[in-house]
Every structure is written in C-alpha cells, then in structure tokens.
C-alpha cells in the first residue's frame, strides 16, 4: 500500500444558513485504503462527502481529492472518481447493459461491461429493464455505474442503508473485492459493524466535527467500558470463589453467568482455576472486549446532544 494521500481535508467548514453542518474538519485518506466516515444522521457526513465529490462548495478550508480541488469540477478528476449517492434514479426504460454502456461511454478507460456485471452479480439481469429490478439489485447497479470508469477513488454514501442483513453481507464482500485492486474507498455509514468490517481506518463525526480517528481497534480501545465474560454453568456448580469480583456474580435461570470486569486476566484466571478444581465444564465461554459500538456511543453521546435538523 502506498502512503500517498488520496484525500486531504483541513479546516473544512460549511454552513446552511445559521446551521454549521461541517465545523472545522481535518482528515486524510491514504491511497488504497478503505476509510469510513461514521456518525449519526445529521452529523455532517454527507455534506463532507458531497464537497469532496464536487456537488457542494465549501465555505472555508482546504480540500484536495487526488490532487485536485473538487470544487473546480475538472473533467480529469471526475474521470478518476466513482460515486454512489444515497439515493439516485436511473433511466427507467433502458436495460442494465444499456445503462452500463451509456455511462461507460463517459470515461476514457472504461471497465468492460461483462466484468462489471459479474462483479455486481447482475449477469442474469443484463437484459432486464431497470423498472423490473428489486431494490437490492438497483443498489448493486448503482455500484456498477460507479465502477464504469474503473475509478481510482470510490465514494459510497450509506451504501447498505435499507438492506436486509444478507444483502448487507453481499455488499461488503463486493466492496472488499474492489479494494483488493488497490482502489481507495471513502464510505459513510451509521452502522458500526459496517465500519468495523470494511474500514482500514475510520473517523467518527459528530455535529460537524471529527471526534475520533484511527483504526477500528484503536477507536474501540478508547472506550472506557469493561470486558464482558460470559459462560454457562451447570446447575451442579456451587458458589463462585470470593476472588471473582465484578458485576453479576450470580448465574441467571438458564445458568448463564455474565461478568463485567476491568481486570479480565485475573478474573478469567480465577474462573478457570475454580472450574478445573471442581471439574466444572465452562460451556459457551466468551470474552468480549469493549466494541467499536461502545466507543461510538460514548463519543457521540448516544446521540443525545447531536444537533438535529440538518439534512447532511
């Protein structure tokens, strides 16, 4: 992976009337990485991305996308970029292959149509009219259209909103397949699992400001939460030894014991030593570290004080 910057943002500001949608954002996205911009609705994700895509003018700050100022909407930049917007339509009376061929025609080095159809899994639908596609198929076509120019940089704005869990998994596989090719992806999402699964690095944005930036693991580590140890004990198991502290010392009706601890090593050691000594099987033992979700909820204040009302 090269360390060249695909996107550089510093001091970015954008207001809609009196509402500051983006309030001093600094970010760098390296070439070849998947970067997720994570945040609640109205946090400024879409505004930021639409400035990078050249749809909106910034009020202040410096922005470079593949070395260009996107506000100038230079053709040489647009030729290297693929955009999947949150919702956008397509000429209804053409079929899938015709649509892809139409958009391919806009680019100097288009990706072959059959390759795109295979990637987005719409080979069987190549001759189908757009009107007859399901919602998920149309979303895949959106991605296919964004791939027509074989872009170096791909913007995905909430690509899986409205998907069922299965469709979301498929979409993730597709994005991973694309990034294997050294492409840069900037993705916005309000799904933690999506960011954790796809992103090399991510930033959390809240009320127009970046409140955390790093790898998913780095950000998760910022959560002050405790480690959760969960185990199912047989009914015959006696009382826990006194050195096992932590919340929830007693198993519930199903024999499930949940411990929350700041000292997982010691707690776990005491638990397993006790189980060995008494020949107790520790079924379904699991240890969960603080998740990205915990960090996210802490950093965004669980949405409590996030300014609402901005279509961002």
């Amino acid at each position: 992976m090269t360390m060249r910057a695909a996107i550089e943002i510093s001091g970015l500001r954008k207001a809609y009337g009196p509402v500051l949608a983006v309030d001093g954002v600094d970010l760098g996205v390296r070439e070849g990485e998947v970067f997720a911009l994570l945040g609640p609705n109205g946090a400024g994700k879409t505004t930021t991305v639409e400035i990078l895509e050249g749809y909106r003018h910034r009020d202040a700050g410096e922005v470079r996308v593949l070395g260009h100022d996107p506000a100038r909407r230079e053709r040489s930049l647009l030729e290297q970029v693929g955009i999947v917007l949150q919702s956008n339509g397509v000429e209804r009376y053409l079929n899938v292959r015709e649509i892809l061929d139409l958009y391919r025609g806009y680019y100097p080095k288009p990706r072959p149509t059959d390759e795109i159809l295979r990637l987005i899994g719409l080979e069987e639908k190549a001759g189908a009219k757009i009107r007859t596609l399901s919602g998920g198929q149309r979303r895949r076509l959106d991605l296919g259209i964004a791939l027509c120019g074989d872009p170096r940089l791909l913007f995905l704005d909430e690509p899986t909103t409205g998907f069922d869990p299965n469709a979301r998994r498929h979409a993730w596989e597709l994005v991973r397949a694309l990034t294997g090719e050294g492409r840069t992806v900037l993705l916005t999402t309000h799904f933690m699992d999506e960011a954790a699964d796809l992103a090399d690095r991510l930033a959390i944005i809240k009320a127009g400001r970046i409140v955390a930036e790093g790898t998913p693991a780095q950000i998760a580590a910022r959560a002050s939460g405790t480690t959760r140890i969960r185990v199912r004990l047989p009914p015959s198991a006696g009382d826990l030894p006194a050195e096992i502290t932590g919340v929830g010392r007693r198993p519930d009706r199903d024999g499930v014991l949940q411990l929350e601890t700041h000292d997982p090593t010691r707690t776990l050691h005491a638990l397993t030593a006790w189980a060995l000594a008494h020949d107790i099987a520790l079924d379904e033992l699991s240890v969960t570290r603080p998740s990205l979700e915990d960090a996210y909820l802490e950093l965004t204040g669980a949405g409590a004080d996030v300014s609402a009302g901005v279509a961002a």
Partner: protein
C-alpha cells in the same frame, strides 16, 4: 470522446428510452392529431373550392402546438422528473459535460418535434387538402428553428421554478394552455377578440410563433420579414437561456 459525439450518444440513448415506452410515444403523436380532427369537426373542416378554410388555419396551428408540447412541455416535465429521481445528480458526478446531457434531452425533443411537423403537415394535406408550403420552405424552416429553440430554452428555464415532478403538469399547463387559447392556436384572434387580449397575447412567444406558421401555410399571404415578431421571439429565447443558465438545478429540491 469529444463533447459533440457524447451529445450525439445522449440523443440516441434518450431516443431509445423514448420508444421503449410505446404508450407514451403513441399519445405524443396522437394527441396533436386528435386536436386537429376535433377542431376541424367543430369549426367546419374544408369546404370544397375555398382558398382559405378552417383546415388552413388549424394545420399550422397544430404544427405550432406540436412544437410547443414536444419542446416546452416535454422538456420541462422530463427534466423535472429526472431531477427529482436523482438522475441529473448522478450524471453530474460523471465526466459527461453538463451541456452534453442537456443537448441529449433537447436533441430528443427536436426529433419528436420534427416527426410531428411531418405527420401533422401530411395529415393536413391528405385529409383536408391543405397544401404543404414547399415554395416557402426557407421561411418555414427559419420559423420552426426559432420556435423550437425558444420553447426548448423556456422548457429548461421553467424547470427551475417547478419545485417537484408532481407539480410540473399543473405549472407547465398553467403557463402554456391560456396562451394557446389567445394566440391563434386553439382559437382565432379576430375582430371579435377584445383588443387588450390581442395586445396581451403579442407579449408572449406563442402568438408570434403561431403567426409565422400561419403566414407560411396561408396561400393568400405573402410572408415577409416582420422584425417585431422575430425580436419578441428572440427576446424570449435569450430570456430562457439566461434563466436556465442561472437557475437550472441539478439536484432534487428538499
């Protein structure tokens, strides 16, 4: 690819999409003919032997109607719904020059308009014996080009004032239907028409475009160059281009 060939590709794509909706395509062409037949039935058709019959009036009138609906009405509605659906925004995120996209829309509208001119003129000639004015072809072509350009520009311009696609039929019809009634298209402006209405209609482009076509088709007239007619049409053309280039919106309105 050069901008011009991109624009030509857009016209082909728009044209292909147009014919893929046969019901819409059929009525695009049937609608002016229905009006033509209706008006001729209502107002007398073509008594044999007369030099100038109601059909001589309604043939160019319906040609004017055809150009206005193919250019103004269709462009305004198609652009508004493409904007609402996010097609315009998607296209704007590609390297396709904005003007090439709009040229595609306009080119498709002009193709439909041309086909309608041929159909309506042929219908007038075959059914009502209204001769196509071949000897005035340069005059007629100039009028058609001017009309198509003006109404295409105004169609793009009005889209800036239409908040959403649901509102577009109401707004577009409200702006054009009254003019059709007072501008020698649906009804004749004659001695019975109040003078103020005659004067009012001369402010707008429909009247002058229709009058140019009437002059082309009227066997008794010797059409000449009336600078006022052309100037008013040109004024509306410039106004349309200015408003469209300043206020045209590529994104759905919130």
């Amino acid at each position: 690819m050069s901008g011009l060939s991109l624009a030509a590709r857009q016209v082909r794509a728009e044209n292909r999409a147009f014919w893929r909706n046969p019901a819409a395509a059929f009525f695009t062409f049937a609608f002016p003919l229905i009006f033509m037949v209706l008006f001729n039935v209502l107002f007398g058709g073509s008594p044999p032997g007369a030099a100038y019959t109601p059909a001589h009036f309604f043939t160019p009138a319906i040609v004017a109607l055809s150009i206005i609906s193919a250019c103004y009405t269709n462009i305004a509605m198609a652009i508004t719904s493409a904007r609402d659906e996010g097609i315009l925004k998607r296209v704007r995120g590609t390297p396709l020059p904005e003007w090439a996209y709009l040229a595609g829309r306009i080119g498709q509208a002009v193709l439909v308009a041309l086909l309608l001119v041929v159909i309506v003129s042929a219908f007038g000639e075959v059914v009502y014996g209204v001769e196509f004015p071949f000897e005035r072809l340069p005059f007629l072509l100039a009028a058609l080009v001017m009309g198509a350009a003006t109404f295409c520009a105004l169609g793009l311009a009005i889209s800036a004032f239409i908040p959403n696609a649901d509102a577009s039929p109401a707004i577009v019809n409200a702006t054009v239907l009254p003019l059709l009634f007072i501008s020698n298209v649906f009804a004749r402006v004659d001695e019975g028409t109040p003078a103020w209405l005659d004067t009012l209609s001369r402010v707008f482009p429909v009247r002058h475009f229709a009058d140019l076509l009437h002059a082309a088709w009227d066997p008794r007239a010797s059409p000449g160059f009336d600078p006022v007619q052309w100037a008013i049409l040109a004024g509306w053309l410039v106004l349309g281009v200015l408003v469209a280039s300043r206020s045209f919106s590529w994104e759905p309105r919130a």
